[in-house]
């Protein structure tokens, strides 16, 4: 069934990473598509026929401040009014400030009924300045304060590595390795002057469950770092089939105790007595899952998932998941 909802791309990245250049590039390169841009920073958007709306970030906590119910009130209003207009847009781009936490932006598309029924979050695209990103990622913040650069990398569905012309190839490799360590899921697109292929950033379908698990097996390779205070990716592959009740308990445990720490997760499960794959994804405690296509005859029944977040203990995650297997 075709999803008629209008796709929304969220563009994050530090000040100076080239978000406005990318926006201008996208607006210039799009052919016949009507795009609306909601910007949080006064960029110099130089396209006349695009609708550009300025927004001032308003973070709302709902339901006693549960982290999954932290949303962007300004976006609810602006998107709500935009969707009431007759001249419909083919795509909406939301540019966040350099210091924005991407979670409330993403959660806005799941928590508000009116928004959810008309718009779908397509992807979070994070612009990374190849020359300066390591410095931003390494910046030590006071206790309890998140490093926004790390969060923006961790939440991304696409990492656009910009200004590659300013960095030598070895340094570029280093930057990529570092980005991978934090976020093993998002493909990295190298660019200069923010000139990317539109398909790399538009209509990515990152929150589309049917496409969410086009995971590259190499993402599941363990990274070598042990220090679990930092944000990292943990990939698990556990062959076999899981018991549906036990896996529900596991999910309850995961969302209840790790929901704050898990920024993003995606996975595919093999559930006992079901010939279909079960696919899921999540943003903090917001969880979305459903049965997918049937397993092919030649396919090994296996469970694969990736978690991106903080304080993630691979052994604990694995041990608890293995306990869900039906022997």
């Amino acid at each position: 069934m075709a999803d008629g909802r209008v796709p929304v791309t969220v563009l994050t990245g530090f000040l100076g990473s080239g978000k406005t250049t990318l926006l201008n590039h996208v607006l210039r390169a799009q052919h016949g598509r009507r795009i609306a841009v909601i910007e949080n920073e006064f960029g110099e958007i130089g396209i006349d026929d695009a609708l550009v709306i300025d927004a001032e970030e308003e973070i709302f906590e709902m339901n006693n401040g549960c982290i999954c119910c932290t949303v962007r009130g300004d976006l609810i209003r602006i998107l709500g009014n935009l969707m009431r207009r007759k001249d419909r847009f083919d795509h909406i781009l939301v540019e966040t400030t350099g210091l924005a936490d991407p979670a409330p932006v993403a959660q806005t598309f799941f928590v508000d009924e009116e928004i959810r029924s008309q718009l779908r979050l397509d992807a979070i695209v994070t612009m990374v300045d190849a020359k300066h990103v390591i410095g931003h990622l390494d910046e030590v913040k006071p206790d309890g304060v998140e490093n926004e650069a790390v969060e923006q990398v961790a939440f991304a569905d696409r990492l656009v590595l910009n200004k590659c012309d300013l960095v030598d190839p070895r340094a570029l490799e280093q930057v990529e390795r570092r980005l991978r360590q934090i976020n093993a899921l998002a493909p990295i697109v190298r660019t200069e002057h923010a000139r990317v292929d539109l398909s790399a950033v538009l209509d990515v379908g990152a929150f589309d469950l049917a496409r969410a698990l086009e995971m590259d097996p190499e993402f599941l390779v363990d990274t070598d770092h042990q220090h679990d205070q930092t944000v990292s990716s943990v990939g698990l592959e556990v062959p076999g089939v899981v018991d549906v009740d036990r896996v529900n308990d596991w999910l309850g445990w995961l969302l209840g105790t790790k929901g704050t720490d898990i920024f993003r997760m995606k996975g595919v499960l093999a559930v006992a007595d079901d010939d279909r794959r079960y696919v899921f994804q999540g943003v903090h405690m917001l969880f979305d899952g459903q049965p997918d296509r049937p397993w092919r005859a030649d396919e090994e029944r296996t469970n694969r998932m990736v978690f991106i977040g903080r304080n993630l203990e691979r052994d604990e995650l694995r041990k608890r998941f293995v306990a869900c297997l039906r022997s």
């Binding site: 308003e58 709902m62 300004d74 009431r84 207009r85 009924e113 009116e114």
Partner: protein, 341 residues
């Protein structure tokens, strides 16, 4: 469609006006002589009698809100372009527009007609009839979504993220606050000034007793709550939600611990509710294109179900209580004359 009569019910519907986009607000003037409508196309139109049609200057990105002065002589229009116009009805020209700090999202005239409260961005402005800003209240943590005066005009309520802020024209600062951790979208002050009710982003309704601040909350709505209305005796609070209207009974010990009466019959969201002036008929406008009329004191009695045929967006009663005007998401403005039922 120009005019038709619903034979079973006896109500008549006629198209008053067509604008180019979603109608954001419609209202009869308090003297009942004129109708004003605003739309996301930026259009703001005043109609009166058979002849008058006045197209006011277009607001970029949409005209969002309108408010008639109590004497019906001036209509205020606010837009997403951050402009507010005070337009003398029937004049070919109005004073220069007032620049406000952000989208003008909600406006309310004080009952004596001397001051217009404007919610714009994170501020509330009090504007006099000449368009001069008399007071400006900042300090709201987020966009002010709604402003409304108490029936006597002594105080003004402003809703934002964090609850309600109360102001008085003679005071430079907030005079009272009702704190609540959440985003408030709509305010309804009971005509008796005994209660204030709010509709909220987190799918709840919150009520405070005036002025003790004693409060109660109705939670568990399927979506955010934006449609609220008190009946004239302030016994019932009507809340529009998905597919239905809930009626909370404030008589006796109040609605605490009770279940609301449910008025169903809509397929989609009820976007606006309003009680008949001087009467007790409740009108509910649905996104399903149906205007339903109820006699709630007579438990769930549906009086009429009037299909308009276009997704409804707003409604307003004529002060005489025998006519309604409704706006639609497709740019239609319709006059509904009640039958004798």
């Amino acid at each position: 469609m120009n005019r038709r009569v619903d034979e079973e019910q006896g109500s008549s519907i006629s198209e008053l006006l067509r604008v180019e986009d979603h109608v954001t607000a419609v209202a009869f003037s308090p003297d009942g002589v004129h109708v004003a409508a605003t739309a996301l196309s930026g259009q703001a139109v005043v109609l009166g009698g058979r002849r008058l049609r006045q197209d006011l200057p277009v607001h970029g990105l949409g005209a969002l809100t309108l408010a008639w002065s109590p004497d019906g002589a001036t209509v205020a229009i606010g837009g997403q372009d951050g402009l507010v116009r005070l337009w003398p009805v029937g004049e070919t020209d109005g004073p220069p527009p007032l620049d406000v700090p952000g989208w003008a999202t909600s406006m309310s005239w004080a009952p004596d007609g001397q001051l217009l409260a404007v919610a714009a961005g994170r501020s509330v402005l009090l504007v006099d009839r000449t368009g001069a800003v008399r007071r400006r209240f900042d300090g709201h943590p987020a966009t002010v979504t709604s402003v409304t005066w108490t029936p006597g005009g002594k105080r003004l309520a402003a809703a934002s993220y964090g609850g309600l802020w109360w102001y008085e024209p003679g005071e430079a600062d907030v005079v009272k606050r009702f704190d609540w951790k959440g985003s408030v979208l709509a305010i309804a002050v009971a005509p008796t000034t005994k209660w204030v009710a709010t509709g909220n982003q987190d799918a709840s309704v919150h009520c405070w007793k005036l002025w003790t601040g004693e409060d109660l909350q109705m939670t568990g709505y399927p979506a955010k709550v934006e449609a609220l209305a008190w009946d004239r005796t302030a016994r019932f609070l009507a809340v529009g939600t998905l597919g239905e209207v809930n009626l909370w009974d404030f008589s006796g010990r109040g609605p605490q611990g009770t279940k609301p009466v449910t008025l169903g019959g809509h397929d989609r969201r009820v976007v606006a509710v309003g009680y008949q002036p001087g009467g007790s008929v409740l009108a509910a406008a649905g996104a399903d294109g149906v205007l339903s009329l109820w006699h709630p004191t007579n438990r769930r009695r549906l009086l009429e179900r009037i299909p308009i045929g276009e997704e409804l967006s707003c409604l307003h009663w004529h002060p005489g209580g025998r006519r309604l005007v409704v706006g639609t998401a497709e740019g239609g403005v319709y006059l509904v004359k009640l039958g004798t039922a």
